[in-house]
Amino acid sequence: MIITNNLTKKYGEQIALDHLNLNVKEGEIYCLLGANGAGKTTTINLLLGFITPTSGSAFINQLDVQENPKATKRFLAYIPENLMLYPNLTAVENLDYFSGIAGKTLSRSDLKIVLEEAGLQSEAFENRISTFSKGMRQKVGIAIALAKEAKVLLLDEPTSGLDPKASNEFGVVLQKLREKGVATLMATHDLFRAKEVATQIGIMKDGQLKQQFAGHDITLPELEKAYLSTMDYKELVS
């Protein structure tokens, strides 16, 4: 569902992403770990078509992102670190707007069902987004993905700044989406959440994918150790 072939992005002499090869299948959650500047967000920007690759290619649902920018966006949903919606509109209205411009027309009752499915409390449906916490806004973001019936979900550090309860709820929703067959690529610093939800985990450094694991093959301490050693934090590894 998400494929990158030798995907590379250079800014002048600086290499932001170096020959990345990924394959995230239907119903998989791929967590990309890495320090700031490792190339996680660049990967997501390239998959969204926000920037053009220097070389290589990216595919969403078998469509080349660069050649079919609009068509690929029909299949994907994106939740950035700070999901900003329209503060003067309610949760239902924001969902109606974003799913509407994406080509999905839902009735008001359907919109509420989707918001409920995303885990938002019903009493918040008609409240303006300006009163929402970050966790609540992330749930509206998930609702947009559900309303769009997205096959691919791109998440850029979605749990940063969330309290443990909200982060846990977010993980539960991701699992539900996985069960529905959604392919998820999540860039994160949150090793714990990655271990909890991921079917595959990749560790990036300096634009390169250094290590890959199957989620069920590795324990959290092993993951932490692998991460720290990849980052060359030798004193912390011991």
Binding site: T41, L48, I51, K70, I101
Partner: protein
Amino acid sequence: MFSYNFKYELKQLLRSRWIQLLSIVLLLLFGFSTFNGIQKVEKRKKDITTAQEEVKENDAMMLKLLDSVERGLEVSASPWTIPTSPMAVGNYHPRVAAMEPQSMAFMATGQADLFTHYVKPTVSGDDFALNFTEMTSPVQLLFGSFDLAFVIVYLLPLLIIAFSYNVLSSEKESGSLRLLAAQPIGIQNWVLQKLGLRFFWLAVLVLIALTVVFLVHGINPFAQAAVYFGLLGIVLTYMLFWFALAFLINLWVGSSAKNAVALLGLWVVFVLLVPSVLNQMGNTLYPMPSRTLMINEMRSLKAEVTARQDEILDNYLRDHPEYALNDTTQTRSFWHRYMASQSLIKKELSPVVDAYEEQLQKQQDWVGRFKWISPAIIAQESLNQMAGTSTQDYESFRKQVIGFAASWREHFMPFLYNNQSFSQQDYPNLPKFVYTNTKTSVQNRVLLILGLSVLVYLIGILMYKRQTKNNLLAT
């Protein structure tokens, strides 16, 4: 996408109180400027009415005097003012040549402050040098006081800038742009739709505010439907031009602060700088001859002509034997000599007056040739024309008055040279001045501003396509 943008743009504008704020501001601006304009038009009408009332009273006195004289009664008036003398009528009982304000004159009253709206040409007046051209700068003539035209040309673009400068940059700065750009839509189309909708709602507010203000002031806009729709055409296309500029800047520049500065810079260029530069260049390329010099030349010529008035009269009678034949008494008064000399003075001064008018015309043509550079000039000129206060209107009035002054003088010539007295029976035949409005159509100007808006829009698209996406969406 459009139906969702349409639905939620209005909701957001209402909830952020933009619609309410704009409605109040527009009503206040249109209301005050219309009130201001109406006051000026009323003053103009009052001045004309007062002058006409004076003429009426003066005429009643004249007819009374004529009646007394014709009945052989003694009258107590200076001999040279007794209206049996045609020259006394021509000189002391002039008609009012008035430029009646047009029904929508309140829209643009700027030049009303600079020009005279009524004249009383007499047989001894220098009609060829009527004081209509005190202001020679064509652009200065275009812009006036706090009237509706000022609000539309100067202030409305500022409201549009405030309403549209950050349509895209605010999305980028708040972070919602990345979510938007992740949807299967074109950002360029999205911006176009957002600005198009803001244009639509502002146009609706302008339309309502203008109509309400007109009705409150007792003006029925539909009584002058052509002018009213012409006004709407100019206002809407002028607004469209500024929204097109906002589209270009939104796609091109970036941050909200930069957008605001860029749009305000363009406002200065189009509304202040271009008219001022055109004016300066017009003055430099076609400098006006000195008006003082012209007046001095007129005076010296008059003095010279006065010195040889007998000779001139002889020449005049040689040219007009019909008057010489009737000159049985051979009495040659001051008026005989004066009237004969007038045509000579006019003829000899014509090169000076013509040079003055020619330069003025060249300046007007210069502005006319380059006015398309600034829609502000086109809009102001159109509003002035619809209000009947444009340079062309005053020029037309001036020419009509000159024509009337000549016919007024000509009317008394047979009386003078045939030694014929003026009687009560002759009164109804006195020439009357009727002002004819210049015909106005703003259709071409509407199309011109529309064309400029499309050009700016196309430049916006071209710029957007040339710039890298990295600037807009990469974080």
